[in-house]
C-alpha cells in the first residue's frame, strides 16, 4: 500500500509517543497533531491531546498561560519542538541565523520552547528537512538548550529527533544522538552526508517501520477529518479533506 511522507511521519511519531497520559501540540505542527490523533483513534481516545491552537473547543479556559502553568506542574508528558537549526547537543534555534538581534535570516521566534523543553517529561524533536542547513554542528542562537548542567532544574528533555530521512535517539548521559533507524527509500550513507553534526551509529542500522494498512485507513478517515478542522491547508494538501 502506498503512502505519503506525511502519513509515514505521522505513524512514526505515533509509535514514539507510545504510552503517555497527556500530549500537547503547538502551532504549525500538523504532523505531530495527526500522529497523536492517530494514536487516540487506535487506543480508544487515549492519550489526552491538547491542541494549543485548536480553533474551536480550545482545551483551556484560563487563557494562553494555562498551558504553561499546567506544564510547570508536570501535567504534560509529551511535547514537540522543531528548529530552523538543531545541533548535535539537541539545542534548537527558532530565532535566526547570522547574528543577533539583526539576523541575516530571521525566523518567527522561540515561542514557549525555552520553558516547555524543560517542563514536559519528553520532547520529540521533529523537522522534515534533513540537511546540513538545518542539522548543524552548533546552532547560531540557542532558543532552548538540549540539556542542562547538574543543579539546574529540569524535568524532561529530548527523547528523539525525527526527520524526513531518519530517527535519532537522544542519549542523555552522553549528550549525543544515536542513529536509531533510517526511513525506507533512504540510506545510512545519505543520512551521514546530509547531517552537519556528529552522532553515534551502530554497525547495523534498522529500517523505520512502514505504515500498516490499518494505520493508513485511520489516517485517511477519522484523523483527516479531525485535522482538517484545525489545519485546513495541511489536510487539503495531504488528504484532500475539509472540515
Amino acid at each position: 500500500m502506498s503512502w505519503t511522507t506525511e502519513e509515514f511521519l505521522a505513524c512514526t511519531i505515533a509509535r514514539l509517543i507510545g504510552d503517555a497520559q497527556h500530549v500537547a501540540v503547538g502551532a504549525a505542527s500538523p504532523v505531530p497533531a495527526a500522529a497523536c490523533t492517530l494514536l487516540r483513534a487506535q487506543n480508544g481516545g487515549r492519550p489526552r491531546l491538547s491542541l494549543l491552537h485548536k480553533r474551536r473547543g480550545n482545551p483551556f479556559t484560563e487563557g494562553s498561560r494555562e498551558l504553561f502553568d499546567l506544564a510547570g506542574q508536570g501535567r504534560i508528558d509529551v511535547f514537540f519542538l522543531g528548529g530552523a537549526q538543531i545541533d548535535g547537543e539537541a539545542n534548537i534555534n527558532l530565532v535566526g541565523t547570522g547574528g543577533y538581534p539583526n539576523s541575516e535570516a530571521r525566523f518567527p521566534g522561540s515561542f514557549g520552547s525555552a520553558f516547555l523543553y524543560f517542563a514536559a517529561r519528553r520532547t520529540i524533536l521533529y523537522r522534515e528537512e534533513h540537511s546540513r542547513r538545518v542539522l548543524v554542528p552548533r546552532v547560531d542562537f540557542i532558543s532552548a538548550p538540549g540539556w542542562s548542567p547538574p543543579g539546574v532544574w529540569r524535568r524532561g528533555g529530548p527523547q528523539a529527533l525525527v526527520t524526513g530521512k531518519a530517527i535519532f535517539a537522544w542519549q542523555p548521559e552522553m549528550r549525543r544522538f544515536r542513529l536509531e533507524s533510517v526511513h525506507p527509500r533512504h540510506t545510512a550513507d545519505e543520512v551521514r552526508e546530509h547531517t552537519g553534526f556528529e552522532y553515534d551509529a551502530p554497525a547495523r542500522i534498522g529500517v523505520t517501520a512502514e505504515p500498516a494498512p490499518e494505520e493508513l485507513a485511520l489516517l485517511r478517515g477519522p484523523v483527516a477529518r479531525e485535522i482538517a478542522a484545525n489545519y485546513p491547508e495541511f489536510a487539503a494538501r495531504v488528504w484532500g479533506a475539509s472540515a
Partner: protein
Amino acid sequence: MALRLAARPNETRFLAGADALAGDIPDGACVALPPDYSLVAMEAVRGLIRRRARNLKLLGVPVLGFCADLLIGAGCVAEVETSAVSLGEAGAAPRFTDAIERGELRIKDATCPMVHSGLQAAEKGVPFMPLRGVIGSDLVRHRADWKVIQNPMSDSPDPILLAAAIEPDVALFHARFADRAGNVWIGRRRELATIAHAARRCYVTFEELREGDMLEDELLAPGVLASVYVTAVARAEHGAWPLGVLDLYPIDDAHLARYAQAAQTRQGFARYLEDFVFPSPLARRGQGEGGLE
C-alpha cells in the same frame, strides 16, 4: 521610558468608533496585543495606521501575528517584545522579517511564559515573578530585565529565573459584547484580562452592545472583564476581521494567505494598505465593494 500615561481613570468612556479609539492611543505607547487566535482589535489597528501612529512598542501576549505585521510594515513600530511573530498557517510574517533583517526594528525576544509571568507580577503589584526552565537559553543573555538568582527557599544550589513586572501603557483588544456599564465579555480569552489588569489603560472594541449589566448574569459573568479596568470602548462590528471572534466568525484564511503573498514586497504591502486599510474596509463593505468577502 519616555512616555508615562496618567493614572487609571474610573469611568469607562464610550467613543464614536475604532478611529476615535485609535486616536486616544498616543505615539510612543507600549501597546500589549493578543495573538491572532485570541480577540484582536483589527479595526482599531487599521485606525492606528490611518492616523499614522509612530514609535509604538508592541508587546506580544505572548506572540504576535497579522496585526503586528501590518503595523510594522506601515512604519508605526519602533520596537517589539514578543515570543514570536508569525502568520500561522499562512507562514512567516513578511514585514516583520524584512524589518529585522534590514535592522529597522528593535526586538526583545521572549518566551511565552516569561511574558505571562511579567504581566502576572504587574497584576499583583509585585516587582517580579519566578519561572522554572529557560536557563541556558541565549534569550537570558540578551534580556537585562531577566535575572537568575539562587532560590532563597532552598539550602542547596538552585538557580531560578525572575521576570520583571511588565506594565504596558495600553492594552488593546476586541470583545464579543460590551454593556452600558462598560463591562466587556471576552469569554475564555483570559489573557486579555491579564493584560487589562497589568496595563495602565485598556481600550476595547466590541461587536455588539448588550442590554443589562453582564456582571449580574451568572452565566456571562465568568467571561466578563469588569469596567474598572476598561478605559474606553468603541463599537466595531466585524472589528476583528480578517481574524476571528470565538464562535461568531472564523479567521479568514484566504485573506491571510492573500496578505502573506502581497506583503512579500514593500510595493505589494503598500497596495494592500490602499485596498484594505485606507479607507476602512467597513466603509467599503457599506459601498458593496466586497472588501470583507
